[in-house]
Symmetry: C2
């Protein structure tokens, strides 16, 4: 302890914690310097564990992901989010501690106290849709600041930030409508993720707003897009008056892949005969193809927004707007409706 070197005992706490604090006048300059010198010569530093134990702040923000943080398969990693998280945290003077969920490989990860270690930090950010509700609930019930990255409304009181898929999807439809399209079909997968539901909702809203036909036949919900969305199917729909298709983005990109393949196989030219929209970003392996009209999820900004919210919670402030706007991408797959064959 530094008090041995100086003369005081827990006065050191005052001078050390009030480093750049506002209330600096509470201690005499002399002892202050004495303490500072002693601390420096001893190479003294706070013990973060003790500091936190004593109900103080750590200046640490936790990040917990339920899949491996550094997957060998770099495909669906949270890297882009984490970039934003790290930048915003740095900007706000917070340090990051990343808890890897996959660690303790099946042992601790599954255990009931898998999440307890996040209490090392002042608050924690959760990534991934597999966050166990019960544990999160307990955390927020204990008053521990928690933010979930991704819409999560089932859990009462759980703060979250998410992309505004509804508005973004709607904007894509409106863009198509502005080009003259009225009969537009959404291709989506069968699984019921909030992100899918949001996109469909935005799609239907957009359709309704522009006076398009928003009946149930406007959405193609298929368990296996590859086999459901065939060339004949597309040809038939086009013959029936459909002039544009939009696909939802998923991990696999199955809907977009199927749509793309079917149109190509049907011998339809893309911006010419039919217009295509993608409710999200194309899978990396299709990035070389003509860039799809659609929108990009602002992953960096989402990460940053999550950190902002978490910082607010830690500081005891109120939550702000959880939705982050997506960025419209003009792309090259949408044009005026082709003449019906």
């Amino acid at each position: 302890m530094a008090q041995l070197a100086g003369v005081s005992q827990a006065t050191v706490s005052l001078v050390l914690s009030a480093r750049s604090d506002g209330k600096a006048a509470t201690i005499s300059e002399e002892t202050r310097q004495r303490v500072l010198d002693a601390a420096r010569s001893l190479g003294y530093a706070h013990d973060p564990a003790a500091r936190r134990l004593a109900a103080a702040r750590n200046n640490l923000l936790g990040v917990f992901s339920f899949t491996a943080t550094f997957p060998t398969d770099v495909q669906h990693s949270y890297y882009p989010f984490l970039v934003g998280v790290e930048q915003e945290a740095a900007a706000r003077g917070y340090d990051l501690v990343l808890f890897t969920g996959s660690s303790s490989g099946g042992a601790g990860a599954a255990g009931p106290d898998a999440l307890s270690r996040v209490r090392l930090a002042d608050g924690c950010l959760f990534l991934g849709r597999h966050a166990p509700g019960a544990e999160l609930k307990r955390l927020v019930a204990d008053g521990f600041p928690v933010v979930h990255l991704g819409r999560r409304e089932e859990l009462e009181g759980l703060a979250w930030v998410g992309a505004d898929y509804v508005s973004a999807s709607r904007a894509v439809v409106e863009h198509l409508a502005a080009l003259g399209h009225r009969r537009i079909v959404l291709v989506r997968e069968a699984d019921d993720a909030p992100a899918s539901a949001d996109r469909q909702r935005g799609f239907l809203e957009g359709l309704a707003a522009v006076g398009g036909e928003a009946g149930p036949e406007a959405v193609l919900r298929c368990a296996d897009p590859a086999s459901a969305v065939t060339a004949e199917r597309v040809r038939a729909l086009v013959a029936d008056g459909v002039t544009a298709f939009v696909a939802e983005e998923t991990d696999t990109g199955a809907a977009w892949r199927a749509l793309d393949a079917a149109v190509r196989e049907a011998g339809l030219s893309c911006p010419g005969d039919v217009s295509l929209g993608l409710l999200g970003s194309p899978p990396p392996d299709l990035a070389a193809a003509p860039v799809p009209t659609g929108f990009d999820v602002p992953r960096h900004q989402l990460g940053a927004a999550a950190v902002r919210l978490l910082a607010a919670l830690v500081a005891g402030e109120e939550a702000q707007e959880p939705l982050v706007a997506c960025e419209f991408r003009t792309g090259a797959t949408a044009g005026p409706p082709g003449r019906r064959p």
Copy 2:
């Protein structure tokens, strides 16, 4: 606290810490179950901070990198190492805590206690060559388990793991020699990194071992490879009897780039007229080119080895072999010496 639910008070500590411990006979099965049940129903879990403060283990391994952990420029990130680190940590039942060095953007990062927060964990792994010696020294002096990823012998008592560049470089030279080369030139940059020194040493050792000419003219040390290694230079050397070149790998890949460009510009065919070796892996943007004869740094394994060493230190065991072997890559840029023009 769980004692309210059960009947005991710190007995809970015994049963909870002896979870899968060897000495299980120290507590009666009945109270044990009672405590366990109470803990489960209350959702109780250790407070990691308190646990650590009480001189116990956390089961947390720290990772500290001095550059951004998630750089926007994905070029020189530690990602490949971290993959290995995460896997090995998971395999050993450790959880990972990643401290981002760049956070606290210039404020806390530079502060004297920037490293103090790693004490939250049972030990810490340091990545990057900018680790401040003084702070590391203090950490090891305090008996805190520390492992540095990358050779670091100047700091007495600092444990480290690194790639065996010497042997790997030597192997490349010996491969060339086996093909018949005797006059080989090393192109390296001027800056004095341990990794560069190691490669040069291995190069010279190899040359000496095969009876090649290992004089000082065998290594081209240039501040700016691009301007120093020109087509004429290469042509002159070849005319003088040099049949093979090797370049060191660096962040920028400048040496290899320069060599590659110069040879091409000199109108020399690569496996035909001259053989080329790369002491490391090619930069990503040159990965499409014919794969260079050389070696790959086993980044995953390095990360894993670092975790193993750190775990050993935490457990109070002794350090093991710090060097990890690189993997020879046959490649397509080396063949028998061409006829001298």
